[in-house]
Symmetry: D2
Subunit: 368 residues, 4 copies
């Protein structure tokens, strides 16, 4: 068969790793990728067994070897998903980028901005794509929200309240994200805060110019900060707040954003992603639903089934991979949009800024 | 590559056909099927072009030829999805079943119960699967709801109110479902009512023993009944109501079920499929969320990502295909469950019963 | 003090009687009534003690004596609220109406339409008001809903689904409403179904021309019908359904109405009474909130505080009493609107029609 | 008539003043107060006319005269509601307190903490009540929330997010609250932030030990701060955030609080005040409804009608006045609870702290 699909690889994401599974479903959903190569754990045998269960043909022991050999093949991978713990992102992503292979690297891109900036530079100099899956910006209704803001439907943005207040680690959990050596000390910011911040940037088109952060540990004895409250000043001088935690007892995902303009406001919750609430100054609320014919072209393009057929997290993730496929193929005529290494770098700077501010008792720090 | 995937075919579902696209995404999402053969329209050229865009290798002009040739191949299709208008289901499904090829046939299975029963018999005598994608019963939370009822958590079922009140045809639409020759005269029942009825049967484990139906046409001039209100007596003598329409102005999908037991009640909406509301007699409500660790094994098995990561229509559809894959492979050790030809036949009888009751001014008719 | 308030009396509503308390709060809220006379139970001493605790000056043993003596006083009651069990409504209301005293009589007005019609006639011939507190039609947002329909905002009404599915008697309760001699056999219809039906009539301005009803008993051993499903044909030939029960396990009040027009639909729930959902054919929903400046004059007039300050059941009840006060005073220049004896009579006929239909296996009966 | 009601007076709250009307309805709802004296505006004639329309017997020109003459009467006022602009609270409240008359004074108690403390001292030395109507803490479900926290149902409190983000002044409004001389410069904090802060204190039983505030002006040209974001450290060292604004475009009242404990969390919205959401660490949510028999005695006591009958803002306000009546009468045997002058003083200090922090670029300030 003359397979029309792009060829993908994966490093990390062995059995039980949720985020690796999400990448794979997202690649598969639209049948645009074949997952052909990978490393699914440190030990060869279980990695190979897992690969076979997934139909992955080529299994490697070492990511440098994988990069080298895949780069050498005619049918080698077009792109590799790096879904390992944060502290290994830099070395792995670098290995592939240097061999001219595009990379989807989980957030935070790296654990410090120097290495993140280096990855961006390497991708650029090798003319390959470095993408960071802040996939919440790929929801159809978020795309529509961003277009409403660009169209001026909200007027001047006056305030933004974003939060990613998850409950997934409300109690003690034994996981690499709770190890400061692997996930960094500001894990609430790195793990979820960067998503909320990217969503704010994506919808509003604004950047942060300064910020103040208070980091705290809500679960006693936890060696990382699992809670963070941030104040931002945005590039149009509007104030904003971001709250990030994994210890919001009883919350599901808890990603929510509210954008207030002079003429209208927007609200979106990840728990109900196919709807977008628009409020007018008179107090009326309009609920827009995915699949309505009046939404933007971009929202329509990213809707697979239609009104009344909820699309969820994996569809948003697949939107990311679908736009990436367009970009990798150089397809014209659409409006693909994915978070890149630059966005990933800004996310890392965001993490660093929270740590710097916190170290100074939540003083304002200029956002680089 | 030694592809581990099942081989699937499709008849119908050309460009723009929503339901065909849904089947394909559902096959792909878990990478358990390769769509290898199909007929995507009456005209060869566009069908072949579309097949190529999908990566489908073998295109046919005629379903009988397709059945014959695929049956003859070693790598021929394991299963075919029939997603054509209702009036052609019988002939197409029969052609494949007779060649020993399993069939997923869209609902209503056929336009009369004799032919539906014949398909069931053919599938049985050829030892192949005939499945009908009432996919709403494949949502994780619906699986959990059914298990709660089986566990006795609700006590005796005393009343059920099901509705599939969609707004998709609130205004005039030009489509085969509005042509009585193709979709039948009771299109509200055939198109959506059968889904609500199957959901009721799946969750409660009860059958209908008699029913009364009033059919009506809400959109003036429409040559079919686009609205139906049904009263049922269930096999435990509890009363139930089903409302089916495609003309509920402004509704999205409008599929909703409420099951009342002596000890608790359940409510589920398709607009928020990852939650299930459980109400206790004291007036308190508990909202269960997909991914909670306390849900049934079956709900857990059908959850790909986890708490806080909404799964939607395509995931439910993929649950159907995933269970079908288990059945086709004869995999042991799980609890696959798919609506079969028998369920499809009961759905056709449901449509017929509504027509018979309506013809007698909504008199009670015994449900066969 | 020259008290500007109307003088009210009450029969029934002793300690612990919820509905009597509701009437009193509703009279007091806007300071338009002084409750000056009453009978709060069969036994003199506790009735008098309760009256004193309420600040009620004149206590009687017998409603006929009360009617006579109040009618004879210069400062006698302007209106009496009758809040006794259903089977006593007729005699009590008649006693006051005949003495020229206006009456607010709880629903159902009486237990048969002959006596209900007689009360209407007596009120008319004595030129006094007979009002029936279907107070849900007094919510500001219901007033607005009715005006939207009158304005043609919904276009032709094509379907209505009303339900009053309360959970208050999901389990055995020992109360007069469960005694067929006092509350009638169709208690679900009399107790709550009449509210849903009145709401339907008030919002749409349509009457029922025929109906079919299935009555059932959801709580085993209960000597009355605690569940009823009704089909109606409305005066514009649109179909409608009404579901009434007190045995909807886990429900709070469960009063909900959805009105579908060709151009838009409306939805309102009693659990969130200060909002009204308007849906457009494209799938968008607009939520109107009490206090918005764009609502109808009538909704604005019935809003005490303003946007963001929820008003509930007692405020709706007080709206009823406020409009009644305007009518009793003959105040010009507003748009008072209260359910009258005619509405009460139609409600009694509704109850009777359900019993007649049910007796004939849910056959259609012409609505008188 | 031997009126059993307490005698109340009012200063302020003329025609069109929303908060004055709210106080009056709240006094009347339970028939525990007669409003007998007042000043309803600066000009005698319209004030007297308005008084007459309300049935208020005694109208005064000057609050000092009113205090003196009412104190001298046997049937003089037991309590006076002061509902004038903030800058006049001190002088007016003082006049009544000094004459031994209890005062309900709108928040903020005064515009500076010295005068607020003075009022507290005067009330104490005259053995009268000084109450501040932070009436949100009088909602039945908030009472229940506080009792859940006291019972330890949430475990240790780890984080609180409170917000009062109203949209009432999203656009330019011409009102005394926008005049820094009358309402203070931090109007967002004084007007609504103090409510959110009191709710936090009431539910959690915790005090703030330090705070950081950023004040901003969202509506261009407005001479006051209409937006404030606060960080608090609570007395158990848990962090908390408070967001206060009147410029949240499109919001109704926007009062919402979320309290996170180690074992459960609570959420309450003013838009749906009769429900309280309780979340468990496993991700399940339970919605408690006013009127459920399992709620605390205090919640039950403050419920007038029962499950399924929403009570709103005026009922909460009446709960405040009902508890005040118990206190004024010295009634034993219940659990009245009203915000006092101390709470009002803490509110004023809260306003001052936000101004101090803001003046130092949102630095932490110790909370006195």
């Amino acid at each position: 068969m003359n397979d029309h699909r792009l060829v993908a690889g994966m490093v990390g994401g062995g059995p039980g790793a949720m985020i690796g599974a999400a990448h794979r479903h997202a690649m598969w959903l639209d049948n645009q990728y074949v997952l052909a190569a990978g490393i699914f754990g440190r030990d060869r045998a279980p990695s190979a067994e897992f690969a076979q269960s997934l139909g992955v043909e080529r299994v490697y022991d070492d990511y440098r070897e994988m990069a080298e050999r895949e780069a050498a093949r005619d049918d080698g991978v077009d792109v590799v998903a790096v879904v390992t713990p944060n502290d290994s992102h830099y070395e792995i992503a670098k290995a592939f980028l240097e061999k001219g292979i595009s990379v989807v690297c989980e957030k935070p891109l790296t654990n410090d901005s120097n290495t993140a900036a280096e990855l961006v530079a390497i991708a650029e100099s090798n003319s390959v794509i470095l993408a960071v899956p802040h996939i919440y910006s790929a929801y159809a209704m978020i795309r529509h929200a961003a277009r409403m803001v660009r169209n001026g439907d909200l007027g001047r943005i006056r305030f933004v309240a974003a939060e990613h207040a998850s409950g997934w680690a409300s109690a003690q959990v034994d996981q690499w994200r709770m190890d400061p050596a692997k996930g960094g000390v500001a894990t609430a910011v790195a793990d979820v805060g960067t998503h909320a911040f990217h969503l704010l940037r994506y919808i509003t088109g604004l950047e942060a110019t300064r910020m103040s952060a208070e980091l705290s540990t809500l679960v006693p004895g936890r060696p990382v900060f699992d809670n963070a409250t941030m104040r931002l000043t945005l590039s149009n001088n509007a104030p904003a707040t971001v709250w990030a935690t994994m210890a919001a007892t009883g919350h599901e995902h808890g990603l929510r954003i509210r954008v207030f303009g002079d003429d209208a406001s927007l609200e979106w919750h990840h728990e109900d992603p196919q709807h977008l609430i628009v409020r007018d100054p008179g107090g009326g609320s309009t609920i827009l639903a995915q699949g309505m014919s009046t939404l933007s072209d971009d929202a329509a393009r990213l809707t697979r089934v239609g009104l009344g057929h909820p699309e969820g997290f994996l569809e948003a993730f697949a939107n990311f991979y679908s736009d990436l496929a367009d970009i990798l193929r150089g397809s014209p005529g659409r409006e693909p949009s994915i978070p890149t290494g630059i966005d990933g770098l800004i996310g890392v700077r965001f993490v660093e800024a929270t740590i710097a501010s916190h170290a100074d008792d939540a003083a304002w720090v200029t956002f680089p």
